[in-house]
Subunit: 254 residues, 2 copies
């Protein structure tokens, strides 16, 4: 049984894609069969995993609109245990076309049923909004992983995200749970980071990952080479942190 | 005649709100009458300017759906020459309700006509997407200011944004021009930043602001006090940079 994890936060630039790409690679390195789904029209997880967006014929767009079976859009990556379903800017069109469809929130959940059990983990990278693409991801998911930058504006949006998760639990997906909150881009020299960390750990006791992702330039360099950080610089603090996170998630699965 | 500037980039977390709030405050300090419009349901520009979102009755949501006149939703701020039109998460509803309206892309432009000439500058903070709210901002604007983080994923989205601007120029707003690209969160010790800066300045010669906004922790601390950085720490590098930017924009208007 695959564990389906949506990586979501409507606040922009908090590390959703960086977490999706590097957690997926770390799980794959631990021999867990992993499928990474890019649900963001920006397609950052696609290029960050080494795929050339210009060369793609079939993407998540085609699977969401039933123009192709999801098995046809799954691509291999440099890591044997890691597959990816890519995205391109066409995906913006899917959001508009789905608005008038029946069961518009359940399309992703429906198309995943045929392939999800070939994997141990399915990770879904979400765009920075609470629109139909993110709602499809939350409806398909077992858990939601919330990357949170240790900054004021990122804290401000947390309440809205938790409200949306609650609405989804009531109407569309009663089994959805909050996996944990992941603190990202943590800079130990910065007071604001410590303040935010203390506040989050107090309010959300037991729902914050032990692993904290440090601010580390290797994490922002790796995507320009189209690779996860563990292939770019395995010894970096960024790489170690995401390997720790993968271990923590695998152990929680028990 | 007011100059209407949309601050837009669908990539998340690149400094749109930080630029909107601090540029507006800097223009107001230079005695330019400025109106800041928050078009993002996250409402970060609203709280970053010191307004309490929970206490607001009328917002941009009501003006966009013609439930209130825009003059009724304009609020004063701590700076005499700065007014703000606030936003709350209700604004997500406006995007859905506008989809089926007639001139759905021109609502903001229409409602602004009655008040824009009371100001020298109107700044519009956009959400991290190319949906109807951002399209309304680009249709209402004279120019678009593009904040760009010096990172790989931010560069990747630039082409898509420029395509959208071109489409708007053709169909909805022929007078729309690209104001300039603003490099944000620049860290001189980081090679990637220098690489991105060189590449952008080469490709977009003459369309990049001289002023570069440095990474400066005071910029991320100021919002938690509900104030622009020039009221929080006028001597900081972040504050100086946005005052320089305001001066550059005022001179360009010359
Ligand atoms: N821990 C980190 N240390 C340094 N840089 C980081 C870290 N995590 C992410 N980054 C960089 O910060 C930027 C924002 O991260 P990312 O794109 O992953 O966020 P996101 O939430 O997916 O953004 P969006 O909302 O646009 O989808 C990227 O340029 C990324 O390379
Ligand atoms: N020059 C800077 N130095 C340090 N921190 C900054 C700087 N500019 C912005 N920040 C911080 O980085 C984060 C992202 O900035 P901001 O929220 O302004 O981006 P945005 O593009 O408006 O994000 P969104 O896409 O969610 O609307 C914020 O927490 C902000 O305080
Ligand atoms: Mg992303
Ligand atoms: Mg913003």
């Amino acid at each position: 049984m695959a564990q389906i994890i949506a990586i979501a936060n409507q606040k922009g630039g908090v590390g959703k894609t960086t977490t999706a790409v590097n957690l997926a690679a770390s799980l794959a390195t631990a021999e867990k069969k992993t499928l990474l789904i890019d649900m963001d029209p920006q397609g950052n997880a696609t290029s960050g995993s080494g795929l050339d967006k210009g060369a793609l014929e079939l993407t998540i767009y085609h699977a969401m609109l039933d123009e192709a079976d999801i098995s046809e859009v799954i691509c291999p990556t440099a890591l044997p245990c890691l597959h990816i379903v890519p995205a391109t800017p066409d995906l913006i069109g899917a959001e508009i076309e789905l608005i008038s469809a029946d069961d518009r929130e359940r399309h992703l959940r429906r198309i995943l049923t045929t392939v999800q059990n070939n994997y141990d983990f399915v990770l879904i990278d979400c765009p920075p909004s609470l629109g139909l693409l993110t709602i499809n991801a939350l409806t398909a998911a077992d858990t939601v992983l919330i990357p949170l930058q240790c900054e004021y504006y990122a804290m401000e949006g947390l309440g809205q995200l938790l409200n949306t998760v609650q609405l989804i639990q009531q109407d569309l997906n009663p089994r959805l749970k909050i996996h944990h909150i992941l603190l990202t881009m943590f800079d130990g020299r910065n007071n604001l980071c410590h303040q935010v960390k203390n506040e989050i750990c107090e309010h959300f006791e037991g729902q914050v990952f032990e692993t904290v992702i440090p601010r580390n330039v290797r994490l922002s360099e790796a995507p320009s080479f189209g690779m996860p950080v563990l292939l770019y610089d395995i010894g970096s603090r960024g790489s170690t942190a995401y390997l720790d996170l993968a271990r923590e998630i695998i152990q929680a699965e028990g």
